[in-house]
């Protein structure tokens, strides 16, 4: 019997808005629950109780059928996101099922928890949280996760740090130096997660991106990094399910 997975949204096809696969056509499965509570979390509804009624307990097969219903023959890539999907052991069943059906799978997690099924993920983004989040990175755990992942040769893995201010940038430099061989992405923080004024939001995000590019250009420790905005926020503002 298949185990249940707490799911808060399934949507797509759309494009991945951020990180190593920015622009990639994909479906999204968003799980409920997080062991963090970042100050600026842009998916707090997955863990703060506000969307409690939307959480469904689904088996891997339920999820796969819903993905097929929504996406038909118009997808071959699925992104699993949260919350922190790494809390959910049963996700391994979904990952296997997707892979058996020829689907490429991406996952994003903050790197606070290991799961054996990480090895089956094609594109794994580890996104440790900077000081502005209010969270503290457990580097023993993170070291261990990165170590396990780099043992496997063909694992697609990247680090991504969201940057809001100078302290966050210093944290990003430190993380990049600690794991210099992992492809590294800097992402502009979104200060205005509840704004409905799309044009103001766009301007604010692009100004922030400009600032982050300038910081990166000036830093000799950040030569081999990539700086990116969240495309979905530029496109669709703070809307959910796009």
């Amino acid at each position: 019997m298949m185990k249940k997975i707490p799911v808060i949204e399934i949507f797509g096809p759309t494009i991945q808005g951020e990180g190593m696969l920015i622009g990639q056509k994909t479906m999204f499965v968003r799980t409920a629950g997080c062991d963090y509570s970042c100050r600026w979390c842009d998916s707090a509804f997955t863990w703060d109780g506000s969307a409690k009624k939307e959480i469904r307990q689904l088996t891997a097969l339920n999820i796969w059928r819903e993905l097929q219903q929504l996406g038909g023959d118009r997808f071959n890539h699925v992104t699993i996101s949260g919350g922190n999907p790494a809390l959910i052991q049963a996700l391994g069943e979904l990952v296997s099922l997707l892979k058996q059906n020829g689907i490429r799978v991406a996952l994003e997690t903050q790197g606070s928890r290991w799961q054996e099924w990480f090895y089956e993920i094609d594109d794994l983004t580890i996104s440790p949280k900077p000081p502005s989040s209010g969270m503290k990175t457990d580097f023993h755990v993170l070291d261990d996760i990165i170590f396990r992942l780099t043992k496997k040769e063909k694992q697609g893995v990247s680090l991504k740090v969201v940057v809001f201010d100078d302290a966050d940038f210093s944290y990003a430099e430190m993380v990049h130096k600690r794991y210099p061989h992992i492809p590294f992405y800097l992402q502009v923080g979104n200060d205005a997660i509840s704004s409905n004024d799309e044009s103001m939001l766009r301007t604010a995000l692009l100004d922030k991106l400009n600032w982050l590019v300038e910081k990166t250009v000036q830093s000799k420790d950040m030569n081999d990094v990539r700086v990116l905005p969240q495309l979905h926020t530029l496109l669709w503002g703070n809307k959910r399910g796009v």
Copy 2:
């Protein structure tokens, strides 16, 4: 004695605004001259005579020194762009020199000409031009280039097609089907290459991106592709040298 390379700009560090390395911190070397004359070329100054006085004949060593002067210890990546840099055999000397100095090298060309030094490029973007450009792709030449590149195992190569309209999108589908194993990027065309109104330009580009995402989402032939804007145009409008 080193051969001369016609160069129209050298600038950076900045970020790569488009394609497979979007967001990557890099320096730019832009060569003069093109065998095409695309209707919407956003670097027509490299070939239309308007910036003739800016063209300098430089050796690989001259270029490397200028890169070091500009970038100091704040870069380890160089992007060679044009015009069509694939016209210039002598660029092989620059590529070798950069690689000897531990620099990663990216190159963009439309795929109308082969050079043996392509094999030394780390990240090669082939960007065949769609109908709206007014140009005609020579698929004999393109087939041959793709065939040579895929013989080498570790070559980083991608295809990128700029899309302005439905006919361009159909062309992109055809190219993607012809070379299904090459990572494929769709890029939003910039209709307003001479606009100085940055906010209007941003809105127009994001509306266009929205349209292209929707086309891609609906197409079952475009499941494994990535859709991207030009970040530098969103950030800095149509300015040169950023």
